[in-house]
């Protein structure tokens, strides 16, 4: 197996090349100790290749965690992913910048294949590159390609076999003033390659160098400042590249006039925002209306399947487990698919076309006071539909700290699963009146949405104060020119994300659903699942249990936690609702329906009637403004969503952050609900 690393600047088509070469033969793993996705794929062409897609970077020296991975893999020959060969891909219209990275990789001594991507686009811009001379000058095999259209792929595979170190390389030669220091350093650490030694000297983050008093002494002795060396290297390399390219690169024109015309509107301080919010409005209409159809289809087919299963399997515990524990759990996972697919389709469309860069540009200033940046906007806004795809879309944020904050606060946005709870509570406790010409119920719902945004931004501010800053926050973002999106690429990315959700989060959602089912079906006294009604009305794991629920483990737990919930104005029935909705918030409504012994959850009006007439021991109604409002506040803040927690775990690569998130959100919810109840009761 030949190990090949794929490296390049961001936005040069690196991932597209990776996808084209490996197709679906790829897997996403972890690099030990960091929250960076490791994408590895496989392909055959006369030999077996293992291709690693390294994070996009502009140089070997890291300014983020992702880029540390690049440095470590390339400089540490003991690293399990240390490549045998490297493909450097660059944007033909940004030749200089790409060559900076190329030279660094080449100087480390790797056999390199250079891919000039987006050749025809460069040609359109009036850029002409003399490939033969470039090859000679750089002593490297060059392939001119257009990866998006599949041009040059076979050539890449063909040439990859033949590249080897035998081509004469020009090695890195810094100023003579550093020669002595570099030689000393190489002896000291036993490094052969000149440039490798230099790279270790420059990079403060290098694992070889950390906490090394010897190195600090060395730097002091030779009057070396790593940052200066880095700047020096960049300047030298650019000067060299400029000289090399003088008779190879012929260019005229520049930034595409089409993009410029579009940007005049799209980044306009007024029209830009209007366009952006119109697009958002359209997407959310789409998510809400279009997702409904497949959603109800999935619900229906699962209940038919459940019915069929129930009748065609032999009676007994296995039958009950399958039809009431397993299948509802499965459907709870599948139910998220329509929303994820629709939301991601639009997000990927915005990404492919280049529009997302403009959103970042427009929103950056507004997000900064909260410790977020422009790239946090899309995850936060997507959180209004569903936190799961929203948290996943935070991957676009390169700065790990900004990304973490975004992931932590996104679930506070009012997601669509909170809506059934809000509507039920508003119907119960908010009077049907008008206030200043506005319908009060609608107004309260709007306030709940604002509360979500406010909570998310304020918490972001708090995290911004608490979390340490490993890298300075700045924005430097290339504005890609607009492109027509290619649907095949969107579908592939969509599939990869969906797959990762189904596989990694599905398992846990499943487990939690089953645990909740077990708790609600068994009690210490008896096994009563045989007595349960077999009507299947929806896909939620807990349903249609009347009396036995009180005697089940879940009921006992509900009663057990009643003292804790009493200050919020809740009784044990609401407690059960809270517990069971840990699987998903909207389960609260169906659980309430079961608790109040209503055969079918589809008729919410019946449920409202029942809940309205529910009274406390002293004859007061349970659902007054204080309790209802406190419950809404609780749901606004509480992390009542296992699926989101599992996705957060998957995205942050540790249980630490989902646990932190669970406790701070539940804490906020408890305090908020408590305060509300105390004030209004």
């Amino acid at each position: 197996m030949i190990k090949v690393a794929l490296i390049g600047n961001p936005n040069v088509g690196k991932t597209t090349l990776f996808n084209k070469l490996t197709g679906l033969h790829q897997k996403i793993g972890n690099y030990p100790g960091v929250t960076v996705d490791k994408k590895v794929g496989f392909f055959n062409h006369e030999a077996q290749y293992q291709l690693t897609d390294l994070p996009g970077t502009y140089s070997l020296y890291p300014s983020s965690q992702d880029e540390e991975v690049v440095f470590n893999i390339l400089t540490d020959s003991q690293h399990p992913d240390h490549p045998d060969k490297v493909i450097v891909i660059l944007d033909a219209s940004q030749l200089r910048r790409g060559l900076l990275l190329f030279h660094q990789v080449q100087d480390l001594g790797f056999p390199v294949l250079l891919v000039l991507n987006m050749m025809d686009e460069a040609k359109k811009k009036g850029i002409h590159i003399e490939l033969d001379r470039l090859m000679l000058k750089l002593s490297v095999e060059v392939v001119a390609a257009n990866v998006r259209k599949g041009i040059g792929l076979s050539q890449i595979k063909e040439k990859l076999i033949h590249i080897n170190t035998s081509l004469a390389r020009r090695s890195f030669n810094p100023d003579h003033s550093y020669g002595k220091a570099l030689d000393d350093f190489r002896v000291l650490y036993g490094i052969k390659n000149h440039y490798l030694a230099w790279a270790h000297l420059v990079n403060k983050q290098s694992p070889l160098m950390q906490n090394d008093a010897q190195l600090r002494g060395f730097l002091r002795k030779h009057f070396l400042i790593p940052k200066r060396l880095q700047t020096k290297e960049i300047l030298m390399r650019y000067a060299c590249i400029e000289k090399d390219l003088s008779d190879i690169l012929h260019e005229q024109g520049g930034y595409s006039s089409r993009s410029e015309r579009i940007d005049r509107w799209v980044t306009h301080p007024f029209w830009g925002y209007l366009i952006f919010f119109s697009i958002l409005f359209f997407i959310f209409q789409g998510v809400y209306t279009w997702a409904e159809i497949p959603k109800s289809f999935i619900e229906d087919s699962f209940s038919i399947f459940q019915e069929w299963m129930h009748h065609h399997f032999p009676e007994g515990p296995i039958n009950i487990f399958l039809s009431q524990g397993l299948i509802p759990g499965l459907s709870a996972i599948v139910l998220f698919i329509p929303q994820i697919v629709i939301l991601f389709f639009f997000l990927l469309l915005m990404e492919e076309s280049g529009y997302i860069g403009r959103v970042v540009f427009l929103m950056d200033r507004w997000m900064r006071p909260f410790g977020l940046n422009g790239k946090s906007v899309m995850p936060l806004i997507s959180g209004v539909a569903c936190a799961i795809p929203a948290v996943m879309s935070a991957r676009n944020i390169e700065n790990p700290r900004d990304r973490l904050i975004t992931i932590l606060v996104t679930p506070l946005m009012t997601c669509s699963a909170r809506l059934p709870v809000y509507t039920l509570m508003i119907a119960l406790v908010i009077p049907d009146k008008y206030w200043m010409g506005f319908q009060l119920k609608g107004l309260v719902l709007m306030i709940m949405y604002f509360l979500g945004v406010l909570a998310a931004l304020c918490t972001a501010m708090v995290f911004n104060k608490l979390l340490r800053r490993p890298y300075k926050s700045y924005l430097i973002m290339e504005m890609p020119s607009y492109k027509w999106p290619i649907f095949k690429h969107i579908l592939l990315s969509l599939w990869i994300r969906l797959h990762s959700f189904l596989w990694h989060s599905g398992k846990i959602i499943m487990a939690v659903s089953i645990i909740l089912w077990v708790l609600s079906s068994f009690g210490p006294d008896e096994v009563f699942f045989y007595h349960r009604q077999e009507t299947v009305t929806d896909s939620h794991p807990i349903k249609d249990f009347s009396d036995p629920l009180e005697r089940s483990y879940l009921g006992i737990i509900g009663k057990g936690i009643e003292p804790v919930l009493k200050p919020l104005g809740y009784d044990w029935k609401i407690g059960i609702g809270l517990l069971s909705s840990l699987a998903a918030r909207e389960v609260f409504v169906s659980t309430m329906a079961s608790v109040y012994s209503i055969g079918s959850t589809s008729s919410n009006s019946h449920l409202e009637e029942k809940m309205k007439t529910a009274t406390r021991a002293n004859g007061q109604p349970v659902y007054d403004l204080a309790t209802g409002g406190s419950l809404m506040i609780f749901y606004a803040f509480a992390m009542q969503c296992m699926s989101t927690l599992t996705v957060v775990r998957r995205e942050t690569k540790s249980w630490k952050w989902p646990i932190v998130q669970f406790f701070f959100m539940t804490g906020m919810a408890y305090l908020g609900a408590f305060a509300f109840y105390k004030i209004f009761s």
């Binding site: 140089s59 300047l235 930034y255 410029e260 422009g374």
Partner: protein, 96 residues
């Protein structure tokens, strides 16, 4: 002397104006900017600015690539404006 020769800073450049980078102010500049090719001697043009002139978008270098950056960083980039008509020798900035 300060009046004419003192270089302007990038964040003050107006939309559509061109300039040449002359250097960087003392404050430390992230190395990333150098790596992207924002170096002394490179010509740039202000393309457009967001609300509050922050962030801003420039195109720079012979490749005319289009880049967004924040005002805080743009304030550290020292520039010598290029007159609209490049042959215009009467521009006071050309003396230095």
């Amino acid at each position: 002397m300060e009046q004419h020769d003192f270089p302007a800073i990038l964040s003050e450049l107006k939309k559509g104006q061109k300039a040449i980078i002359s250097g960087f102010s003392n404050a430390e500049m992230p190395a990333r900017f150098f790596e992207m090719g924002i170096l002394p001697g490179v010509e740039l043009e202000m393309l457009f600015k967001a609300a509050f002139c922050d962030p801003l978008c420039i195109s720079y270098g012979k490749a005319r690539c289009c880049l967004a950056l924040r005002k805080a960083e743009a304030q550290r980039v020292l520039i010598v404006p290029v007159p609209k008509n490049e042959c215009d020798k009467s521009c006071p900035y050309r003396e230095s």
